[in-house]
Subunit: 73 residues, 2 copies
């Protein structure tokens, strides 16, 4: 049950690139990239900062997607 996130979408809404997002939050560009590439569990401190920057709850950014194998059938 991998941890997923919607950071890429929310970052796009803010019109920021990864480097700008990292700078705003206080982490490196690589860390933003790593998170967006998925299956990565940052600290709750970072999660709170990201959620605040995106003006949403932590749960709206980070969530669990079931490991189901159904496509849409």
């Amino acid at each position: 049950m991998p941890l997923k996130n919607t950071l890429k979408v929310h970052r796009a809404k803010l019109g920021l690139n990864q480097a700008e997002m990292g700078k705003r939050i206080g982490v490196s560009r690589q860390t933003i990239s790593l998170i967006e590439r998925g299956d990565y569990s940052p600290s709750v401190t970072l999660a709170l900062k990201i959620a605040k920057a995106c003006d949403v709850s932590v749960e709206e950014i980070f969530y669990y997607k079931e490991d189901n194998d159904e496509g849409d059938a």
Copy 2:
């Protein structure tokens, strides 16, 4: 600006000791103890599990308390 949390209170509401809480969430007793002792930033995965177990949002458990030095003056 240390990270604070309300885990101890919420755990008490559930009527669980640290060992039971750890078992329910899937971490060791020490990890629960460390968090409750404060100034500790677990992974967002663990934060989500704790919030779910307590039936509240991540933000209701983990938050920042300003590092102000004013008492009440």
